[in-house]
């Protein structure tokens, strides 16, 4: 394949990556923005979305798209509920103190990963895509499902944006983010808001995972890379800025996709991790966050 089409292929792959990454990162960003919590177990919620999708599609009778649809609805709800429980039983009791919370989410990460290992096993298992439709471009065929992923992710992000800016729930979340004590004074139950936000963040990661699992495979350690990339996106985009997160996700998803195709994935990751560290050291507000 000539360079031009190869680049196009890399960009398409990067776009799919960016879409899934944007969903995952927005989940992480919401949790940090509203709760000031760095959730190291975010990747584990992602993984649970994929692993539970395997269970649902495995046990659901009928054609693949029925199982997939069921997974797309049930798995994020399941993961969200789990997250809400974790928030209520652990994080709330720690009063969301930053260092203790990070240590607690590390503990949660180990527990969730090992639970998946125990119940699902160490192998990577595929999940069938809901439909197999190939788009035929002049230079190569491309999976129609991957394009569906991009559209679905964009739709979910649009829905999140609408909820955050137009609904009462979104208003309550933004109020709590701006000033927790003031929100309490206005009668908002901040504990329930936090549980809801934590659940929403995990749920978004799970949706991203269900979307990606027909392309990748489900594996109990698959949360590590999405976590790292989501971190990078959120920090570069500016912690707490939704718009920054989406823009950064597009930038990083595309460049990671391109670098991985043309160079080595490991090198791409090395550059990405160093970039996060240096951004935090020299420009902590990221690209879009307000200077603290």
């Amino acid at each position: 394949m000539a360079f031009g089409p190869f680049l196009l292929l890399a960009l398409l792959e990067g776009t799919v990556m960016a879409a899934v990454l944007a969903l995952t990162a927005v989940g992480l960003s919401l949790v940090f923005g509203v709760m000031r919590v760095v959730n190291v177990a975010h990747g584990a919620f992602f993984m649970l979305g994929a692993v539970s999708a395997w269970f649902v599609t495995h046990w659901m009778p009928g054609p693949p798209f029925v199982g997939f649809l069921a997974a797309l609805i049930l798995c994020p709800l399941f993961v969200a509920a789990l997250a809400a429980v974790a928030d209520w039983t652990v994080l709330k009791r720690l009063h969301y103190e930053p260092e203790a919370t990070i240590v607690a989410t590390i503990g949660l990460l180990y527990i969730l990963e090992q639970a998946a290992l125990s119940l699902y096993g160490p192998e990577a298992r595929p999940v069938a895509a809901p439909f197999t439709w190939r788009i035929q471009l002049p230079w190569f065929g491309y999976s129609g499902y991957k394009l569906f992923v991009v559209l679905a992710a964009a739709a979910v992000l649009a829905a999140v944006w609408l909820v955050m800016t137009r609904s009462r729930a979104g208003l309550v979340m933004r109020a709590t983010q701006m000033d927790r004590d003031m929100a309490r004074a206005f009668g908002i139950d901040t504990d329930r808001v936090y549980a809801g936000v934590f659940a929403l963040g995990a749920g978004l990661a799970a949706v991203a995972a269900v979307l990606i699992v027909p392309i990748q495979q489900a594996h109990y350690l698959m949360g590590g890379d999405p976590l790292l990339l989501a971190f990078i996106v959120v920090i570069i985009g500016g912690l707490g800025s939704l718009r920054g997160t989406v823009v950064a996700a597009v930038l990083i998803g595309l460049s990671d996709g391109v670098i991985s195709v043309f160079f080595s994935p490991t090198l791409a990751k090395i550059l990405a991790t160093l970039l996060v560290a240096l951004v935090l050291v020299f420009r902590p507000q990221g690209l879009f966050g307000a200077r603290a």
Partner: protein
Amino acid sequence: MKALGLHLAVLAALLAAFWLLPPYHVTNMARIMVLAVFAIGYNIAFGQTGLLSLGHALFFAAGMYATGLLIEQTGLATAPALLAGLAAGAAVAAAVGVLALRTGGVSFMIVTLMFAQAGYLTILYFGGVTRGDEGFTIARAARAIGPIDLSADMPRYMAAFALFTAGLLGHLALTRSRFGRVMVAMRENEERSRMLGYNPFTVKLAALTISGLYAGAAGAAYALLFGYVGASFAAIQYSILPLLYVLLGGAGTVLGPFVGALLMFYLIEVASGLTTAYLMVVGFALLALVLFAPKGVMGTLRDKALPWLP
């Protein structure tokens, strides 16, 4: 005086353990002592100075790979290779500190985590030299200082014991020194310490560098005594383990890291006999500690019963 007596008693018990314990546990104890030195180093940064790093695996691996690669690739003698490992740990810690200490709190945790991840990935990337995840073994012939073969049971145990003794007594001396108290002051109230004329950056950088020295020494010793160098020692798990040992044993106490390493080692041992998902015990331990016992074993002991415990 009581404190010194207690620590000497613990050391004496560890020395005697070589003859009292069965060989399987003797090897375990040697491993635990080396890991405890790593944990003591972590404690100096975290427990004593308040720097919660999530990237200490980088310093451990720096020592391990410096020593291992120098022996394998250049045929350097064991003793200087060991010293190179110490120096590597300290140098990498200082380099990371110069950048990372410009941030604090949560940012510091993430920055150290990122640098460690980059280090781990770099080891994988240069797999031609480092042999990546698979790692490499160090020949028995190269694991000797003069006539002493460090791969044999007794010299190995005694070497680990000597390292641990130096590390433990070194830390005890540090906590009693003027600088040790300044490190604690920086943890307790940084702004006040600054307004008493102490430079927060240099104090924290020194603490991190000493911490890196300990970690590098532990990594180098681990390579020499157990004969294996691998990328897994640079992965996130080896940043979480010292944190766990210190939390469990008691952050900010001198014996805490050893107690935590000992307990956690055997907890994982027992768990791995029961299930393949034994790392779950790490998760539950972290949660239980942070929710119910943030002061750890020695910390709680010091609080409730023994205020003189360093």
